[in-house]
């Protein structure tokens, strides 16, 4: 399967991706591999903006026709924005998981957490190991 794993992003074991922007802000979404496994998404539940969450916390749920899957926050910090467009068009996550299908933005408080995430190569290996 030709799945996209951009090299500039960091990844969590639980199939979220993280893109570092400016001023300590990160964008978070689910990977192309995750959306492939779930199939057509029909409902996305996101954290509330201004909430503080810790890394590893449940931050939301993505539901496809066939299954529901929790989304965990890879970082600790304050949720500063959520992707409102997903309320009406959850399929954006299938169509563009690293772009228009982003889930939420976090102002993180611990840079070390970002460093500990997987790079694209390690994430690819993890996916390959899961499929074997």
């Amino acid at each position: 399967m030709s799945e996209n794993v951009p090299s500039e992003l960091r990844y969590a074991e639980t199939h979220e991706w993280v893109r570092e922007e400016e001023n300590g802000i990160c964008v978070i979404g689910i990977t192309d591999h995750a959306q492939h496994l779930l199939g057509d998404l029909v409902y996305v539940e996101l954290p509330e903006a201004e909430n503080n969450i810790r890394s590893g916390d449940e931050a939301g749920v993505v539901e496809s026709v066939k299954a529901a899957s929790d989304v965990y926050s890879p970082l600790s910090g304050e949720v500063i924005a959520v992707n409102e467009a997903l309320a009406d068009t959850p399929e954006l996550v299938n169509q563009d998981p690293y772009g228009d299908g982003w889930l939420f933005k976090i102002k993180f408080i611990n840079h070390a957490e970002l460093e500990e995430l997987l790079d694209s190569e390690s994430y690819n290996e993890k996916v390959a190991a899961e499929e074997a």
Binding site: G39, D40, Y43, V65, K66
Partner: protein
Amino acid sequence: MGKHTPLFEQHQQAGAKFVDFAGWEMPIHYGSQIDEHHAVRHDAGIFDVSHMTVVDVAGPQAKDFLAYLLANDVNKLKPTKALYSCMLNEKGGIVDDLIVYFRENGTYRLVVNSGTRDKDIEWIGQHAAKFEVAIKERDDLAMVAIQGPKAIEKLAQMCNPRQAKQINKLKRFAVAEIDDWFIGRTGYTGEDGVEIILPAELVATIWQTLLRVGVSPCGLGARDTLRLEAGMHLYGSDMDEHVTPLESGLAWTVAWEPAARDFIGRKALEAQKQAGLRHKFVGLVLESGKGVLRNHQRVICENGSEGEITSGSFSPTLGHAIAFARVPTKIEETCAVEIRGKHVTAKVVKPPFVRNGEKTFS
């Protein structure tokens, strides 16, 4: 590795993602199960259902045997017609649900579920011993369902004029045997269409030809959302051996008359009816769109009594979740469903949810 139908290579070529289904490696979708769902509602789709079990019943007592074996009454069945029925145990529990076709030559053909194949064959065989009948499983045959408003038109395109004419005049729930095809105007989607049973070696041709004229290959994922919208039951989810048709929304399939017809489970159903039912089978809709109804979620009525969702999913046609649930008979117009610890309000409706592409509840 699971069992493969004769169309396995065709599925691979069409880009199928496979799942295990009752020991069979079957396509769940070919890219998008929602697109496949819409193809059947608006155009035409083809499903491989060769994993289903075909059983032929012949012999001088075939009719008497089936009148005893099935809760619906094959005496109502005219030649070249199909009937939906439950097969019950002595307690009225549902062993399986099936379609029985009455053939022009006076014999019967049953199509039963693949997940229940072994116990069905044993159950049928055990009761057949008391009748003068011959039971034959037909694993030499394949089966496809071609469904959707344009299914008949597209199928006719690949036929000669004589065959096309026969297919066009086929009425709902009627069956015709056209050359090598056993073709019934039946289905599991709530749309017009046919199901064709044919020799395994001929099925790849029909598959390829229909894909070429624009019929979409559809997997088990779309099959499930289509049947749920159409208010059709799934054995193992909506009913099993522990419940009767009366508490499964299938009372309409039980033929009580004539009262003299003794069928397996009849006494238990009569006793249950006499005692009064504690559960009924309803549809639930989540028009708020806040989440998806799923199998086994708890249903909580206003008076605190509880039921359970038996089949729940997202309805691609309606754009929100729908479900079947077995609930206490005294349920109000709304109820709560527990979704990941939270109570969400659902509306109680009478299935089906969608017929011929249109919403059917208010």
